[in-house]
Symmetry: C2
Subunit: 583 residues, 2 copies
């Protein structure tokens, strides 16, 4: 893959260029973070002319490697003010890889505010088309129309109304395999950056390209693919009809609730009495009852063998929403005191339709509930608030800008954010290690940046007491480093479960990437590259004005004891600072 | 003055304590900033239980010194996230000083949210009274009622609806000599901190106290008072029927407009075609026409001999608004493209009534206009937007949180703020030195923190070319240092004009302070104390997470040339950083 595609929104031109040698071994997050650091001034206004959007598939994306269809998107985040990588599972990156487009760089600034463009990428080149007719509509309708226009072979990246309006909780949307506008690079408000550039869609169709991307060392690659596939297929969490395939990611609900680490009603408790009603088991049983048969989950993107994506059905057995992730039924469920899967499902559907990150949306709604805008548990009121965002009312502009923004709008103190980004579905007071990740990740509060939940809750890669203090900084550091590498492979983060427990699976991941590139890498390279990525990101954030003071959990978690364990967050600042001290 | 009065809002108790020896020589900003640094954790949520509000009169406040009735208020600012000192001219500090209350410390946190309290301070002690009956009302009505209740001798500090609702552009209001709710410690949103504590009013009545505060060295003090009085009475700007007394601070309008440094329509130009219609001369002439006689200005607070406060009258000759400051007719006039004194006056009246800082309010309205919420120049639409704040609608909550917040709500790029605080009425691209002050002051963008306009525009203390680059960092540093001292004297900053040009006036200011305290101070002590104050403030901000990256003007000023000079802001980052390098 030797090409960068540069899309200039000032001139509406798209040009290919040879990728500089410096970036030859980079892909996914490794490439997006490096390009952002190289090309975006850290002081740039995130929605101004000097920010850029970078898209890059992973090393293994576009190959036959299992579960490898992630695409990374990088920019300076308007939500956190720092560097951001957000990734999604979709065929888009696979088509890029097969066309040997190593990265797409969107830059420049529209000269006609309010006008929207699409870009159509084929083997014949990249062309602009006016996209105003798709603006202002729900994403389900817009994606249906755009796929009708460009054909089912096309994969589509784009933004919804939230991105058009430059709301800082706007995600970047991709279609799933059935064409649903439901796969999101959600976090960090990168959809607002896309919207600020007057870009509505990028449509890609690799017709005419080879079926697989070039692979330098096919033997090494195939050896790796075999090992990783075997590990995924045998691990209890990722195997067919295993935890994820049967219950989806919401299989975690009961586990976290049991551990007292399931944030409830805006992080005022770690246990939700309604948890069983919104758990993965309830989704499975509810679908079974409404459909009259068992429904196992499906792949969100081509080539996934974990297949954890689900569909929730209404009382008539019709499709209601997809996908009800753990994070989503938590954020739009327990965190708002809502115990109805139908209400949570409708909220998920609305997030997808408006173009919002479900985590940030739910954290925001709970802050709004604390401000008195709705009662905890009132799903219908929450749905009404979401419509305000869709309509772009002033209240919608508040809620669409996320939890920290909403907290400030109404003077709320209990605002669970780090670096301006809402905390995901694990209570750091009850699960200390994940708090280290939330606090110190360059991404802001993000469970996927260093998922210590694996050992602290799931017993993957050994079992650690979630409430214990010792060694949690080192634990988080190890996970953050390995994750930065995984985020560059194009693999879904869920391969972490098998590769952490099964040594040959870990080898397989490395061999795949090395095989694609024609290099010899070992576990030491995972650490080396992971640390390089994190250093690049930290350096950008420091140049943007971040300090250790930004590597802290919200103040209230230090003085408000969390039921049922009645614990505060007591990892010391020194320990938090140790994560990046010698990196 | 040996007492601190500690007002605890958790327990509704007020207790006197001996002021620790450490603070014996401190007053005004020197004392508030030191107490905030000592007692407020820099990581505290500004509206949470760990922030405090500190009130302290200056050294000369409560004496017979001229123009010395300023009271300083300190806290961690919810607008900037850093330390804040904001001061106002009012009798309140004089009564404190005569009662020998060196500082009032408001702390704790209400246990019954939504309930408001007042505190009544007399020689018999400090008592709480329920103040809910005054909440939700306009300030003019609330102050009238509270003064009716406690008598005309009382001076009242309090917050309006904006503060009650914890909006981060809420100012702290005091009555003027006629009981108008019109004198503000406006900047930095300190009214939101007061509101967050459930405090609506502090009423003070020193009946029974001596007529003047204790003075250690009366001869030295009187010598200083005489010199300073003489300087004020003879300088062209401050003398009776001089510039300020005749035209008010808005005498600056035509000067800045002529210099191309009068920010117009949200900082998109440095010259406003409607400037003459809103200038101080227009206020004087307008009043003359409507009243049938010349009206010179009056004192905002007891003992002021500059007397620059004005009243604007409507077509029937009735009082419409007070005071139409330069900053206010700019922010609510030119910066919104409004050239009607009646509209600007009504906007000033609304700010006072709601409890908002007029500078931030006008900068906010202009950002809202840029976002398309109203047309530039449409005064009636601007008035309508202000009513949204009063009513506490969602749009009101956006606007009430200031310019940076409004900019983010609607995705506006041209947002003229530093450290989250709106830029005042001098365009830094056209007046380079004031840009250094805006960028580097620990207070956020604040002209009063280092008023280089004196030499750059007014020719006070020598004349410097506003567009020239050389030496502007050193100039700002000198002004910032001297200002920190002046802000501790209790004198209005306008004594700077005479004391900068008349050496004996400068001596007089020092001798007054030294006389009150019984110390021997020289010009070197002004620098020593000024720098100590600034160091304390900077250190707090650094501990709160500020870096050099926060000492920058908004990015757009670096790439958008400003008419009519078509200049960008080109003072280098290195020069900006030199201000605090060796302090």
């Amino acid at each position: 893959m030797a090409k960068f595609l540069r899309i200039n929104m000032t001139t509406q031109t798209a040009t290919y260029e040879d990728a500089p040698a410096k970036y030859a071994l980079m892909a996914g997050r490794y490439l997006t973070s490096t390009l952002v650091a190289d090309q975006v001034p850290p002081s740039a206004h995130p929605l101004g002319p000097n920010n850029k959007i970078i898209l890059a598939p992973g090393w293994a994306t576009g190959t036959s490697a299992p579960t490898s269809a992630r695409i990374s998107i990088g920019a300076k985040s308007p939500l956190t003010g720092g560097i951001k990588e957000s990734n999604a599972g979709t065929g888009f990156g696979q088509q890029m890889a097969r066309m040997e487009i190593q990265a797409i760089i969107v830059e420049g600034f529209p000269t006609t505010p309010g006008k929207f463009w699409g870009v159509h990428i084929t083997q014949n080149g990249a062309t602009f088309f006016p996209a105003d007719e798709y603006a202002g509509k729900g994403n389900y309708e817009a994606w249906r129309k755009i796929i009708e226009r460009f054909g089912k072979k096309a994969d589509v990246m784009g933004v919804g109304v939230a991105g058009e309006k430059r709301m800082t909780n706007a995600g970047i949307c991709f279609n799933d395999m059935q064409g649903r506008a439901s796969r999101y690079a959600g976090r960090g408000g990168l959809g607002a950056v896309v919207g600020s550039k007057g870009l509505k869609f990028i449509v890609i169709d690799d017709t005419g390209a080879p079926p697989l991307r070039p692979i330098a060392d096919k033997d090494l690659f195939m050896q790796g693919q075999k090992k990783l596939t075997q590990a995924i297929r045998t691990h209890d969490i990722t195997k067919p009809k295993g935890g994820l395939n049967t219950y989806g990611t919401a299989v975690l609900v009961n586990l976290l609730n049991e551990a007292g680490g399931f944030p409830t009603r805006n992080f005022s408790s770690g246990r939700f009495e309604g948890a069983p009603k919104i758990a993965g088991e309830a989704i499975f049983e509810g679908n079974k009852q409404r459909l009259g048969k068992e429904l196992y989950n499906h792949a969100c993107s081509p080539g996934c063998i974990i297949q954890c994506s689900n569909v929730w059905h209404d009382e008539k057995g019709q499709e209601a929403a997809s996908c009800l992730e753990y994070e989503s039924v938590w954020s739009l469920g327990a965190n708002c005191g809502i115990d109805s899967l139908d209400d949570a499902g409708e909220l998920v559907r609305l997030c997808n339709d408006i173009g919002l990150d479900t985590i940030e949306a739910g954290v925001t709604l709970a802050v709004a509930m604390e401000a008195g805008l709705a009662k905890f548990g009132d799903g219908k009121a929450a749905i009404k608030l979401m419509h305000e965002i869709a309509q772009g009312t002033p209240l919608g502009h508040i809620l669409g800008n996320g939890a920290a923004f909403t907290g400030r709008a109404f003077g709320v103190i209990r605002v669970p954010t780090v670096k301006g980004q809402g905390l995901p579905a694990y209570e750091p007071r009850a699960v200390k290690g994940i708090g280290v990740t939330y606090a110190t990740s360059p991404m802001g509060a993000d469970h996927t940046a260093g998922y210590t939940i694996a050992p602290e809750i799931l017993g993957v890669s050994g079992k650690q007491d979630p409430l214990a203090l010792g060694g949690k900084a080192a634990l988080s550091k190890g996970f953050q480093t390995a994750t930065a590498f995984i985020d560059s492979t194009g693999h879904c983060l869920f391969i972490a479960f098998p590769i952490l427990d099964i040594g040959s699976g870990f080898e397989g991941m490395i061999e795949e990437a090395a095989g694609v590139l024609g290099v010899q890498w070992t576990a030491a390279d995972v650490t080396r590259i992971g640390e390089e990525i994190l250093r690049t990101e930290r350096k950008f954030n420091e140049a943007a004005g971040f300090t250790k003071k930004d590597d802290r959990l919200p103040e209230f978690m230090k003085y408000e004891p969390l039921p049922p364990h009645n614990v505060v967050y007591d990892v010391t600042d020194e320990e938090l600072d140790s994560v990046y001290k010698d990196m």
